[in-house]
Symmetry: C2
Subunit: 368 residues, 2 copies
């Protein structure tokens, strides 16, 4: 794996050099992990003029072991407690003879940035911007394989829940049970806070589970994901409780299903991100639900659960092959509830069979 | 409750005015919650020249209900997605006629700060520093009551775990089971990632649970906490598995117990924070474990699990009454394991009976 991380650092270094910086300091944890294989708490990565270094606040023996750190990358631990690795790394960059250092200004706080300026006043600090996030958008097959395993785990956890009795249990209990099952099946942990919504809470994006109990006739919507080797996927499904869904439930479900399918079918390399959003959104818009739609129809996933690209009306850019995204339209009607259907897919050329669906739990309307 | 939040904002306003700022922008979520009663995702609080406002990115109906928001505080939602409430609030501060605005530079990123400067170029941005964190150090009885209930919940969850069979179960399962029990007993959720360490992993601060199974003869150390109405407490205990602890285990346990007691007994209003640390640390130092000690012996708790004051060798300041802190010395011997004992207590005057122990699970060395 070491070569993978070294190759990623080389690509970043080329970008930095093209931008006029001989050195870069990466502080955002997911970015550190992407380039170094691990991100011990508080660690920063210095891409130096003469040497790359992982700078940590704790001595290595106090840090819990992490998956896949890059053994070829030298680690420098701060001598005592309370020091800031970003400030120390800035001093090291200057000592290596760099004249400018590109930093992640969307992650560094004003106070840290000031301390970095004052420790190396001759060093010119520039903004690295989202250069690492951009490198992270297109995944390699190793990364996709982690997402695929995570999706299998989420499918298993969800499938087991559906076999159990649901009526009378609270949203909070169901969410906890799902998270336990994710770990049982080998996840590092949940990819985000599991959302379970019943009745009037169903269909609401990011709903935090409450003590409301599942009742006969409810919509039940569930959104969960597994983290596997750091990679985070997402699946969302909506079910109906009881034997016979009401007409409005069937109509709303069919509509959201059609919108989600339209979004999935738009996942073709070269398609504008906003066009994927429009494909999903216009189905719901034209049925009169424009007021009840979330701000986006999907987003990238990877080392973080919400990455570029955004599938939203004002999104810029086009889809590339090997970009994993969610497609997750939904409608929530205040006081009544609603439907969300959410898959993680990988954009693939049509010659390779089109979008690869990672979350394969059925999207039929199940009556449980 | 509304008056409590209004009174807190008045105290902060007085500090700001004394520092020469007519307005302040609070962005750190725990600080927003402390002053406004709730912190919807991304929301910031403007203490304006003419009016206080909670500025949110989402329209209120999309936000999940939260405990105890201050109904007297006007809420302003941004019209569309993608806007930054901090930038919008900066514009509102200028529109209210403020000439300077104090901001939380230890929380704002460089990018946000730049955007705030450019939206209101005539407004002078100053650093509010940790003014709100300082207000949060001394708790009122309502806050302490939330911590007390959280501690009871953690004690219950731990007590139930001890009644179950432990040998053969993994650290990860035990941690998940504890978190489920916390929620069962009414916690909002865990106060931090529950830590369970067995055998060589025992006694390690912040150990992330692994798939190692509990074995006969192991030390088992557990650290957990409940969040109750936003307030976070912490308890840590170490047990021995099997009927007869080894001599080294008994000796190490007695030593850490003595250190922890010394730390607890030093919790007197007016005592220097570093002296509490020294009380706990010197017991372990003089037994020859100086190399194996964590950087601090305890810390404040409240809306965040790690607040001021720090009980550490270089800490400044003295303890006040009504400050809740942890006392959590430990020794971890690489390859062998170790012991940590961790309580949450409230500093009280001796006339009121001295420090109030919130986490009351026994600290005898239990053989399970």
């Amino acid at each position: 794996m070491s070569e993978v991380y070294a190759a990623r650092r080389t690509r970043l270094r080329e970008r930095c050099n093209a931008g006029g910086s001989a050195a870069a300091l990466v502080s955002r944890p997911a970015n550190v992990r992407y380039l170094a294989g691990a991100a011990p708490h508080g660690a920063v990565l210095l891409l130096g003029r003469t040497e790359d270094l992982l700078v940590c606040s704790d001595p290595p023996e106090d840090r819990p072991a992490q998956a896949g750190p890059d053994a070829s990358l030298p680690v420098r631990a701060l001598p005592g407690p309370g020091g800031d690795p970003a400030v120390a790394a800035t001093g090291l960059a200057e000592a290596q003879g760099a004249e400018s250092l590109a930093t992640e200004d969307h992650h560094l706080t004003v106070v840290r940035h000031r301390a970095m300026r004052s420790v190396a006043p001759r060093l010119h600090l520039t903004d690295l911007g989202q250069a690492v996030e951009q490198l992270r958008v297109v995944k390699d097959e190793e990364e996709i394989s982690c997402l695929r395993i995570g999706a299998e785990i989420a499918d298993q956890a969800l499938g087991e829940l559906l076999e159990s009795i649901l009526v009378g249990r609270t949203e909070r209990h169901l969410a906890l049970e799902l998270e336990r099952r994710l770990v049982d099946h080998g996840a590092d942990g949940p990819a985000f806070a599991t959302s379970v919504g019943t009745g009037p809470n169903s269909g609401r994006r990011g709903h935090r589970p409450t003590d409301r109990r599942v009742e006969e006739g409810d919509f039940l919507s569930v959104c969960l994901g597994a983290t596997y080797r750091g990679y985070r996927c997402e699946i969302g499904r909506t079910f109906v409780i009881g034997t016979s869904p009401a007409d409005w439930q069937i109509e709303l479900y069919d509509l959201v299903f059609a919108a989600q399918r339209a979004g999935r079918e738009a996942l073709v390399p070269g398609t504008a991100c906003r066009d994927v959003d429009r494909a999903a959104r216009q189905t719901l818009d034209s049925a009169g639900y424009a007021e009840h739609l979330p701000a986006l129809s999907g987003h990238g996933v990877g080392l973080e659960i919400d990455e570029d690209p955004q599938l939203a009306p004002a999104a810029m850019g086009k889809l590339d092959a090997c970009v994993p995204v969610t497609v997750e339209p939904g409608v929530h009607l205040p006081g009544r509830g609603g439907v969300r259907i959410d898959d993680t897919l990988v954009v693939r050329p049509e010659a390779d069979g089109g979008p690869e669906l990672l979350t394969i739990t059925t999207k039929e309307l199940l009556a449980l």
